[in-house]
Subunit: 107 residues, 3 copies
């Protein structure tokens, strides 16, 4: 896809318990990204939730969706930090191509 005047970046969305947002934010900043957007009061049912006998996302209003956009070279460090947190604390992340108009804003 060609998008005139736009730069390809990577959007990383993380769904975690509200208590884990601070940890996610610290990882985002440690990976060199300086911004994020957080939607709190999110509810959901965890993938494998009932199967594991472990209600990952059964706490209504206790989840948050954290969105950040990073340059491609920051993706691997951030994912490397997020993986153990998501395994230990329960959560999911989605990684998506996106485009921005001011890439310097995200560095």
């Amino acid at each position: 896809m060609s998008r005139d005047g736009l730069t390809k970046m990577t959007k990383i969305e993380v769904v975690v318990r509200g208590a884990d947002v601070t940890g996610v934010r610290e990882l985002i900043q440690a990976a060199g990204a300086t911004g994020y957007t957080s939607v709190s009061g999110v509810s959901g049912l965890g993938h494998h939730g009932y199967h594991q006998g472990r209600l990952l996302f059964n706490e209504q209003d206790a989840l948050a969706l954290v969105i950040t956009v990073v340059s491609d070279d920051a993706v691997e460090p951030l994912l490397a930090g997020l993986r153990p947190l998501l395994t230990e604390r329960s959560g999911v992340m989605f990684v998506t191509d996106t485009y921005v108009s001011r890439p310097e804003y995200f560095r």
Copy 2:
């Protein structure tokens, strides 16, 4: 796009009235996906809302954004279920490529 250690999945986002979230959730589970994230208290104006003389999304705080991520083989069954619901009940859906680190978590 090559993303080391990540698996391509499909993110499906649905905007519906709060009263229709249960129906969307049932379709998600029937399609074999076990997880979703729901953002309530969303407002909006429906595409064609005023044009149709039918204020699709005019009820403030009455909408929800439901997000799920499914493996590619679950996309068609889920879309087949969502289409009639969205036509009948008014709503929109967006289908986007995304990548995850633990694909088994979404099956």
Copy 3:
């Protein structure tokens, strides 16, 4: 990517102060798009926020995430309108490929 029965569109997500949502909405409508979804009560920290000595997104609960999906020919007019608003008022936008099942719904 081939997606049977789906049409490629462009999703534009904008994070702005709540007070700027009306301006974003007007730009969306001026670009020929008739629908949007708005998530209010979003918090975040702006990219370059602390670096600039300017706390872009430091007002808790004062931000909104506005999501719209437009046909490809509406992208450039909308971005042209959003750029100066985001520069002047502080905000970010993300532009992502997405697919919908009823493209006529978004025109």
